[in-house]
Symmetry: C2
Subunit: 433 residues, 2 copies
């Protein structure tokens, strides 16, 4: 190390991900080892991501972290596990410009600062812990010159937050449950990159909820302890689904992809209900969104498959709880279907009169343009969709029942941001800018 | 048969029942053979029952039925199955007073009239088909002098509506799934009569629902076709639960009874969700009722079992869909707990201002007296329950979200009403009175 005062920083951006074959239940609570494989799609970080800057300096007296502008404790076991694993894998680094040299041994004594921001409303809470932990591990690994590949890093991120391991890659990602007791083979691997199936459009409806929150950690624990179905799911159902899902993704087979994802999402909610006490992650608004989209799917289906919604699914529906909110995730097979979906969603769930459209539909605004909606008047002018007209169902609207919509698509994995102006850390003080 | 004009009638009263280990899924759709055993409690017919009068006369030109004052068709396969089975088992009868003699052979040509009423609001739809079919079979069996015991009759009622077979007995009843292809061993048997455990109190909250109705017949079919969990439930989970439940009922072990019933109710909803498309039988109001009661259970629990709601359950909660409604069934282990429960339910879910209390809480009114509630003012004067005060949760009330409450208890099986003034059929015309 050099004698003078210095701060070294790295800034990285990491995406969030949503599971299409769900992780629910651990076989090891400390190491975060799951009871089944899972598969996720990485969301475009342009719309949803975490940016994290990490810094090291001989002046830092202890490890500190700031999350969305607020200092938070790093003392939790999960953060500590990640920091310990990274320190043990740190390598020598040399910054010739600053005249700094850090050896592998130095890392044991040096402290780090972590500053992290989500580019989406905190209230969404959308898997922020997954993106956040992945970004923490990825950026510290870069800072500490950890030479392991993304799969090895994913095993470290996994110990911070299970699904974080899937945020180390773009596109479609599989978290292999592994067999080893020490978790060394419980890692994420990329199935395909984000360009492989880039016509998918994802719309997330964030629904206000007054239901009691169940943290996923305690919920999973309760499920594994009390559900009589979850073991059968993990051992008998998911392994077959994983194989079918990999095939569906490889072939860009949307009907199969949709059928498997819907079935697995429903089964996730089913094992939550089969828990004592039961865990509810859906409410009347999410039921309503699902019913409308099902009705539309049936309406669009050609007659020979009318009775089998799952075979001709235009829109895939997932429902996830994110902190105190319920999010309904809708995946369209192309932009046209997505624009039609957004029209329908805005017809049934218009914003409150005092809401700004740009904060009601966030993310990829081009879907809004495709839907022909530029301002609130366009939403008011939307006519009832044909499937409603035909069935004579009264077009009841639920103003304010959805908090906002996020439009996005499959996206890339973590990247280092080399532009120093994007750093969240003041290079002089080592504190948040 | 005598030559002159005559009408012979029989009137019977049959209870409804609710499952504590649930029937969901058939292995034979025509014979209505289930994929697992189920256990139910029969509800007191003083509060919920079907009364049916049946008549035979040589003047009747075809079989006819009137349900709740409206003529309905008997041509459905399920009615026809019941009628055919009963006719084939009919015996000679002789009414010396009327000078009427009918031989076994005559029954093949004679037609019957059936007049049926439920003593509870039709809108409740509470397993009305179970009580109705059971009453039809029971009263016709009496009229036709069918000499088989209740278990054999249950196998006939089963072919009309599966759970009807459990309404042939009072107290706790097991429907044995049976093994025979022809269904001859798929019958109901009584586990204990209604006096065995007579301190149980049952409160049913009937909740308005705007959800799309899923008929149980098509819902069950879809579950068996598409759920990856239901077979495991039927083959691995339910058989063990049935043994444990019989033991809990025999020993009047409320904690075990409650744990098993809650777990099975949740699992029923779970396999409904694991169906494609998913079946929702709960809504925000039923979630709310469940959450309040759970909170109360936890509050009442002694500290050592605070974390395990299911071990010290004061109130047992079931949630069932009945036609277009959602019913939440709450079972208290004694009258005191039931009165406290009713106070809480009326506190959180008061009636609309223009509702008459006597139509808002129906059935056993003595629970209302025990709760110290005589009129609407008493409901308004209810103070927040202590468990709410302690947690500082704002006591939000949901006026109008519950349609009404029914208070009841375990009750007796079917009986013949010998008082002719109770007959629903005019003995001169053979038509509804």
């Amino acid at each position: 190390m050099a004698a003078e005062k210095w701060v070294l920083t790295v800034t990285a951006q990491t995406p969030t991900n949503i599971a299409v074959i769900k992780y629910w239940g651990k076989r090891d609570e400390d190491l975060i080892l799951p009871i089944n494989d899972s598969i996720s799609v990485t969301l475009d970080p342009d719309h949803l991501c975490t940016t994290t800057s990490v810094a090291v300096s001989p002046d830092f007296t202890h490890d500190r972290m700031w999350l969305n502008g607020k200092e938070v404790s790093l003392s939790g076991g999960r953060y500590q596990n990640c920091l310990r694993e990274l320190r043990s894998r740190a390598s020598d680094i040399e910054d010739e410009k600053k005249g700094v040299k850090i050896t592998k041994k130095d890392w044991e004594k040096l402290h780090v600062h972590v500053v992290s921001y989500n580019n989406f409303p905190t209230a969404a809470g959308l898997a922020s812990s997954a993106a956040g932990l992945a970004c923490l591990v990825f950026s510290l690994a870069k800072l500490m010159n950890v030479k392991e590949d993304h799969s090895r890093l994913s095993a470290i991120a996994r110990q911070g937050s299970g699904s974080a391991c899937r945020s180390l890659y773009g596109g479609f990602v599989k978290w292999i449950m592994g067999k080893e007791e020490n978790g060394s083979d419980s890692i994420a691997v990329q199935l395909t990159d984000e360009k492989h199936w880039d016509d998918l459009v994802i719309i997330i409806a964030v629904v206000s909820s007054k239901q009691k929150e169940t943290s996923s950690t305690s919920g999973m624990h309760d499920t594994v302890e009390t559900s009589m179905l979850v073991e059968h799911r993990a051992k008998e159902v998911v392994p077959k689904r994983i194989i079918q899902m990999e095939e569906a993704i490889k072939n860009r087979d949307f009907p199969a992809f949709a059928r498997l994802t819907c079935a697995d999402s429903n089964q996730f909610h089913a094992v939550c209900l089969d828990t004592l006490p039961p865990i509810f992650y859906m409410n009347d608004t999410s039921h309503r969104i699902i019913s409308y989209v099902e009705k539309w799917n049936r309406f669009e289906g050609t007659p020979q498959v009318l009775s089998s919604f799952s075979l001709k699914c235009e829109i895939l529906i997932l429902c996830r709880a994110v902190n105190k909110l319920v999010a309904v995730l809708l995946i369209s097979h192309n932009r046209k279907a997505a624009a039609q979906l957004l029209q329908r969603l805005l017809f049934f769930f218009p914003p409150q009169s005092d809401t700004d459209l740009s904060s009601y539909v966030i993310g990829d605004k081009t879907i809004l343009q495709d839907a022909g909606i530029q301002d609130m008047k366009d939403i008011e002018a939307l006519s009832p969709p044909p499937e409603i007209k035909e069935t004579n169902t009264p077009a009841q609207k639920y103003k304010g029942d959805v908090s906002y919509f996020i439009c996005t698509r499959p996206g890339r994995g973590p990247v280092v941001l080399t532009d120093e102006s994007l750093s969240l850390i003041n290079p002089e003080t080592g504190l948040p800018k």
